[in-house]
């Protein structure tokens, strides 16, 4: 096969990024055209790859020598599919950005960095060793920083600070993990990792590198406790960038976690437990934060965090279930795909709202969406999918994940292992699913159903142009197709993806709409309805003076991991302690010399002299010495210097004398 195709979706967008910035100097339209062309070309190349892979081909390519170790790429089912999704998302968001950014400044900068990020992200997804993945991961982290701070508002700059700090820290910790993994396994190649790790009789030495690499990828995925950047950065970025950050960049983090789980720690229960715990906390915390939020994009961002938690729960179950982990593998992969597409739709809808209202506050947006059927339907499709309502796409993947948990509980019960914890995980899973339904209802009701505070003024005008509408509608209408024909679409996708996670077909065909599965969804939705009616509508809404019920943010301001712990420690405590030690060390030599001058080597007191005085050996008799110069010439340094020079001369002389004899 034509392996060079692998390079096209990676380097073509990067090349066109430069072309876009050059074109931007001439005309904005040309630049937008180049950017869209890059998205389309990348998608075409990825679709070619996916077509080839689906037909049984495999693409591999190694470029030796680049960056020392050389890069290596491979497209198998999962990677080709994800590259394809990434390119699709770029294509859609770039089309949407034309209108969204229409009146903003620095548009060339946005396109330049977003296209670089596109190439780098696809590079991560197509990589075939940790080295290549790391190279592109770092490029992606830095180029996406500019997408976060695009608007240059104080909030954006502060969120950007957090983002880049987490990215740099995550990158460095991951690098340490890679050093250790390479030293202990002797390879970073994805194909060789499984065998190399399996050959180790004891996996204990792998846990440290594994944890460090997990730190790096987890930081990007938004995993607790490194999620801090996510709820801050996603809302402040322009909407198309938020869609990318949330839909696909987090998945680059998950990609790394999948490699660790499916290759290095294949069927490792201890590893599975750790991921499961972190995933559960992320899932619940994100959902709770989303319920409290009164900001449209912040809710969606917290929701992203929660959904990543769902995915990580699936990853954890892969480790726990051992060889029979097909359901967990399918659930994980499909939920990733779902979440990417769902967040694309939802964030672009939020973008459509923002470019008209210039606000994201639910109280100000109230009822804005009434009479905008296209937007309402698209948003609703996204919300239904995310909430896991049957016939939506999210239902399929959440059912698989739920079944995986239930299956493990049954397995564990058979062997007599304690299952209480896993029952708790199952209930938290359903509870978070309920919260998802609750906060999506909150958003939908607030924007599309409730009556506006003030009736809309002015003549009715078009709120978005057709390319933007298309960018929202295409992914939105793909979702029900996926949900309605699970076997034809999602089952096929899952079969493509399972090889990457060392999975296999499930033992028996999945009955998507069986009674037990529907029951899980029903419990979840019931919890959601209860939370919405009994908590959101009562506790989180207060009547103000005008008699209008307003959404209030009840989340305590101080309860923020970043402001409470991370920033004080990193900005104050560590620099203070570090600098104190370093200042002492820095001055050690000078202080020692000074101490010597005060004790053993006291200089002759320098008496103030007239300019006329001339002492032999004084080289600067006519210059009145400054205090500084007095200190230099009276210092032990100066004496030592003279001594050193004399010493050198004497020794040189001695050598010559001794050796000429």
């Amino acid at each position: 096969m034509l392996n060079q195709i692998l390079l096209v979706p990676i380097f073509l967008p990067m090349g066109l990024a430069c072309a876009a910035i050059l074109a931007g100097r001439r005309s904005a339209a040309a630049r937008d055209g180049v950017a869209c062309a890059a998205g389309i070309a990348a998608f075409a190349a990825c679709a070619l790859l996916l077509g080839g892979v689906a037909g049984g081909a495999e693409f591999t390519l190694a470029i030796p020598g680049v960056c020392g170790r050389g890069l290596s790429f491979k497209a198998d089912g999962f990677r080709a599919l994800y590259a394809c999704i990434a390119a699709f998302m770029w294509m859609m968001t770039t089309a949407f950005a034309r209108e969204y950014l229409g009146h903003e400044s620095h548009r060339s900068r946005y396109y330049f960095f977003t296209l670089l990020t596109c190439g780098a992200t696809i590079g991560v997804f197509l990589s075939n060793d940790f080295f290549t993945a790391f190279v592109f991961f770092e490029v992606m982290s830095f180029t996406s920083y500019v997408m976060v701070v695009q608007e240059e508002s104080p909030a954006a700059l502060r969120a950007g600070e957090t983002y880049i700090a987490v990215a740099v820290l995550g990158g460095m910790v991951m690098l340490m993990g890679l050093f250790l993994l390479d030293a202990r396994l002797g390879t970073l190649d994805f194909d060789a990792l499984t065998a190399a790790a399996a050959a180790l009789p004891d996996k204990t030495p792998l846990y440290l590198p594994g944890a460090l690499i997990l730190f790096g990828f987890g930081a990007k995925a938004g995993m607790f406790p490194l999620h801090i950047w996510l709820p801050k950065a996603h809302p402040v970025a322009p909407a198309p960038a938020s869609a990318l950050l949330s839909g696909i960049l987090t998945k680059a983090g998950v990609f790394g976690v999948l490699v660790l789980t499916g290759r290095v720690f294949l069927h490792d229960a201890a590893w599975g437990n750790v991921i499961l715990c972190l995933g559960t906390v992320t899932m619940v915390l994100g959902a709770v934060l989303a319920v409290f939020s009164v900001d449209l994009k912040r809710t969606l961002a917290c929701s992203s965090m929660s959904q990543i938690g769902f995915i990580l729960v699936g990853v954890g179950m892969q480790g726990l279930l051992g060889a029979g982990h097909a359901l967990a593998v399918w659930g994980t992969g499909l939920h990733m795909v779902n979440h990417s597409l769902l967040k694309l739709v939802l964030f672009l809808c939020a973008g459509a709202v923002y470019m008209n209202c210039r606000t994201l506050d639910l109280n100000k947006l109230r009822g804005w969406g009434r009479g905008k059927p296209l937007l309402a339907v698209c948003f609703l499709l996204g919300a239904l999918g995310l909430a896991g309502v049957p016939l939506g796409s999210g239902y399929i993947s959440k059912t698989l994940l739920h079944e995986a948990i239930v299956e493990y509980i049954e397995l564990a019960a058979q062997t007599g292992a304690p299952v209480g914890l896993y029952h708790a995980v199952e209930w938290l899973f359903l509870f978070s699913g309920g919260l998802t339904a609750a906060y999506m209802t909150k958003l939908f009701v607030a924007i599309f159903i409730e009556k506006p505070n003030t009736p809309a003024a002015g003549p009715k005008r078009s709120y978005m142009r057709w390319p933007s509408a298309l960018a929202i509608a295409i992914p939105a209408f793909t979702l029900p197709v996926m949900g309605l024909a699970p076997d034809a679409v999602m089952g096929r996708m899952a079969r493509l993806m399972q090889g990457f996670m060392n999975g296999s077909d499930p033992e028996h065909a999945v009955a998507w709409f069986s009674l037990t599965n529907l029951r899980g969804a029903a419990i979840s939705l019931a919890i959601g309805a209860a939370v919405y009616l009994l908590f959101i509508r009562t506790v989180l809404m207060r009547q103000d003076a005008d008699g209008i019920k307003r959404y209030v943010d009840c989340w305590p301001k101080w309860l923020d991991l970043e402001e409470l712990i991370y920033r004080p420690v990193i900005e104050k405590l560590l620099p203070f302690a570090g600098a104190l030690v370093c200042r002492v060390l820095d001055n050690l030599t000078e202080w020692t010399l000074r101490l010597l001058r005060l004790t053993l080597l006291r200089p002759r007191p320098i008496s103030p002299r007239n300019e006329a005085d001339f002492a032999p050996g004084d080289f600067t008799p006519h210059v009145r010495r400054s205090y500084t110069l007095q200190r230099i010439f009276g210092s032990v340094s100066y004496s030592l210097l003279l001594f050193g020079l004399g010493f050198c001369a004497a020794m040189g002389y001695l050598i010559v004398i001794l050796l000429t004899k």
Binding site: V149, M172, L180, C582, S626, F647, L659
Partner: protein, 489 residues
Amino acid sequence: MGYLLLLPILFPFAAASALALPALKTAQNRRRFVVAALALEFGFAILCACTETGTLPVLPLGGELCVTFALDGLGRIFSLLVVCMWLLSGLFAQEYMAGEEHLGRYYAFLFLSEGALMALCCAANYLTMYLGFELMTLFSLPLALHTQSDAARRGGCKYLFYSVFGACLGLLGFYTVHAYGSSTAFTPGGTLDPARLAGHEGFVAAAAFLAVLGFGAKAGLFPLHAWLPAAHPEAPAGASALLSGVITKAGVLCVIRVIYYQFGAAFLRGTWVQYAWLALALVTVFLGSMLACKEKAFKKRLAYSTVSQVAYIFFGLTLLQPIALTGAVLHVVVHSAIKNGLFFTAGAVILKTGRTDVRALRGVGKAMPFTMGCFTVLSLGLVGIPPLGGFVSKWLLAEGSLKSGVPVFGWLGPVVLLVSALLTAGYLFSITITAFLPGKDFDAADAPHREPGPFITVPLAVLTALTVLTGLCPGLLTGPVAALAAALC
């Protein structure tokens, strides 16, 4: 062909003398002459590097002592680095120093120190290297003193004291090698004579320790680093770049010669000496980065950064492991290119806006997008972000460290390197971010376009390209160096 080697060593001295000619007193003529001479010197160095010149004894001093020149693989790398950076700094000075006084003196000492460095690179034995080292100190001192301010004088005195003190320690190493070794000529694997050595291992090891510490003073190694942040920032930017980017590397070259060509890696491996060096290197790595974070003066921040980065190299050298050694030599080139570039940008900012404090750089990126763009790429390279040069050298250093089997330092080293990389990110990215993202309330009218001319932008572009190139295809350099390193360890 042997005498060819004298060409790049003596030509700078001739050029320095020629600057005294009355015809070269006008700015126009001097500019042409300086650029032409530096380019010519660049050509001579390439010519020498491409030909097998052999060993050239020049000045017998009696006995077996003789000033001797030879150009081996390591010398080739360092000499090319020197002439390349000198040429770029000379070009940079054409705009940066234009209209200043005492230019003749500045260029003369620029040439003289280049000659001394070439002698150091071509040295074939310890004595020649020592002479080159002392000459380099003396000839580069006037560059540090050029502005004649009080701070410069204080820094210059510190520079002189630390360097000469270091050289004295180096001399101790020379006596030791002469007494306990079979020869003082540089021989891969060392020249210690087992028969003479027997029973004196402790003393010889201590002498090796002190000698390396002494030459390390030039490279800013703790505890003899204090001169560096005092002297480097006081020089004109072009000279700061050379002091930080290249002359510190002369210290590194001397250390490589002493460790690998005189005492021998085998003799030192696993001794307290190696562990002490490693500990000092790691302390320096952390210290430099931490203080750079706290430093508010732009050039001084870069000087502290040099302290830290050169200690990376020192760490790689003292691991006594071929991969780490390869990484260290690569880092010599990478750091040289990056630090020169960073000082050039600092100089350009000072020249065009007069701002020397990093807190005053808000919005500078809008006024000087190209300069600060290069600054950004160079700082990414210094932090070690792929696919730039610093990443590859850091990877090799860490890989070598973990493979070296040295207890504790084997894993502690990479940890400290990465912590330092984090701090590096802290002190460099903050500059880039405030320069390019001043925030919405920043008035673009405050930042009229003030990009410097081609004498500054071209060297900057070259250095930035070099940073990218060393990242994308490090094999051009690491290939030959790895072969060399395998023979040395």
